[in-house]
């Protein structure tokens, strides 16, 4: 093990952490995967730690995954969702968080629609902050579990060719994945309708290919993104049907490649839109392994950050 401590006390974005940090998180996740296979899937590491899960945006998978990870580590957990809180009454983010922190909370897991909300918070409060998604900016834990799942399936991430397909423009998963994959030495290519690929994205060290079949032939792993209908205030694609025809992944298309590629999806899946049901349920898909690994990855992050007090 090259290091036994993270270089940061918050996880705000993959951009801010090092490849050594990522490797440490992966190695610690291996240990937690073993814990999750035991008859009693719980360890007492964080029994003196209180964690607030603040979700200012909807989430099912990430919130449950974090909550389960926290409970498996024996932490005390407070859940907060914006829809049923004083945020609706006009309270500011800092006031909301300070009120919660005055109840002696040690760590904050937050999802917020504003990019940079976590960075702002880190400057004002003492608790460790973990980003569970900030607008269209970053979703670091998703990128870490994606890379960990690639490492688990293919042995390593370095040198692998990873294709990210779909709505890159609105995807925090895509941005965090690009940062993480680059840091781990993978090659990254993006594919999707030109309206959904941000201009100048090549400056992040990725390539862009608009022909899906050509891109699929190149890759070892295809990470299929969800079409985010809720973030499309203007129409970026003519219709879902047309998107599916040009950029949807289906069995016939995969069979025509004459090679087995690994299929990933961060969820929730729009079955029959970006990915067909038979592909999502096939042996090539590691979608459910991603969800399983998410708990171990989040346990590792919480454990490593909890050891780093101010």
């Amino acid at each position: 093990m090259s290091t036994s401590m993270l270089s940061t006390r918050h996880l705000i974005g993959i951009k801010d952490i090092t490849s050594d940090d990522i490797e440490l998180i992966f190695q610690t996740s291996d240990n937690f995967k073993e814990v999750l296979k035991r008859p009693i899937k719980k360890v007492p590491s964080l029994r003196d730690v209180t964690i607030a899960n603040l979700f200012f945006e909807n989430s099912t998978r990430t919130r449950i995954s974090f909550e389960l990870a926290e409970k498996r580590l024996s932490a005390d957990v407070i859940n907060f969702s914006a829809s049923s809180s004083s945020v609706k009454k006009g309270e500011t983010l800092l006031d909301t968080v300070n009120n919660i922190l005055s109840m002696k909370v040690d760590m904050v897991v937050m999802r917020h629609p504003a990019p940079g909300a976590h960075h702002f918070l880190a400057q004002h409060i003492d608790a460790n902050i973990i980003n569970a998604g900030d607008g269209t900016h970053e979703h670091p834990t998703q990128a870490l579990l994606d890379c960990y799942s690639i490492r688990e399936r293919l042995g390593r991430v370095e040198g692998k060719k990873v294709l990210i397909i779909g709505d890159v423009k609105h995807s925090r998963v895509a941005l965090s994945n690009i940062f993480a994959l680059n840091k781990l030495g993978a090659q990254v290519k993006l594919c999707g309708p030109p309206t959904l690929i941000p201009r100048f994205i090549e400056e992040l060290g990725v390539e862009v290919e608009y022909d899906l079949k050509k891109a699929l032939k190149w890759c070892d792993v295809a990470n299929v993104l969800r079409i985010q209908l809720e973030r499309q205030d203007i129409r970026y694609i003519p219709s879902l049907r047309e998107y599916t025809m040009f950029y949807g992944i289906n069995k016939k298309l995969l069979q025509s490649l004459n090679k087995d590629i690994v299929i990933m999806h961060p969820g929730p899946i729009n079955r029959g839109v970006e990915i067909s049901g038979d592909v999502a349920d096939s042996g090539q898909s590691i979608i459910l392994q991603q969800v399983e690994n998410g708990v171990a990855i989040r346990m590792a992050i919480l454990y490593l950050l909890a050891g780093k007090r101010k």
Binding site: S4, N31, V35, R38, P39, S45
Partner: protein, 185 residues
């Protein structure tokens, strides 16, 4: 750097390991319901040696063997200045109703074996737990624990540091006593 005192040299070291093996077999003749678990990382080096020597002294004697990492169970996790290095846990069986022999190299404050017992309970409810330590620093305990099998008893002040060295790692089997722990040790 300070010259350490050798409190056990290689010949006696070998005899002590063999004595501990004989004592184990004496109290668990068939090992039918007994398993041996080493505490990662230095205790597991010791338990590997015990396993190897039992194999030579008692050929054909088979028993379940595992290693346990206690990082996630430590009571000082958030107050340590140095981070913990997590090692792997390799227990591929349930310890339910088994006699478990926990093995560590040095029994000092007793906190490690306390955490190891807590960790072990997550693999089932053992019928009994016994504890073997190569070195027992009897005057430095924080918790009321004792070893059932021990190699050598050392009386040392709190500041002192006892280090067990292994032939395959350090060139020679021996036990050293330093007057204080430094980063070089």
């Amino acid at each position: 750097m300070e010259e350490p005192k050798v409190i056990m040299e290689k010949q006696r070291f070998g005899l002590t390991i063999d004595r501990l093996c004989h004592q184990l077999v004496e109290s668990h003749p068939s090992f039918s319901n007994t398993c041996i678990i080493g505490i990662q990382e230095r205790g597991a080096i010791f338990s590997d040696r015990i396993r190897e020597r039992i194999g030579i002294l008692y050929p054909g004697l088979d028993f379940l063997y595992g290693k346990i990492d206690i990082s996630f169970y430590r009571d000082d996790f958030r107050i340590r200045t140095k981070p913990l290095k997590v090692a792997s846990t390799e227990i591929h069986f349930l310890v339910e109703e088994m006699n478990v022999i926990l093995i560590d190299d040095v029994l000092y404050t007793g906190r490690t074996v306390h955490s190891a017992m807590a960790a072990l309970m997550d693999f089932g409810r053992p019928a009994s737990i016994q504890y073997m330590a190569l070195v027992d620093r009897r005057f430095n305990r924080h918790l009321p624990v004792q070893a059932d099998f021990k190699g050598i008893t050392v009386d040392a002040v709190d500041e002192a540091y006892v280090k067990v060295e292994w032939k395959h790692l350090n060139g020679e089997d021996r036990i050293l006593l330093y007057s204080a722990k430094t980063d070089h040790i």
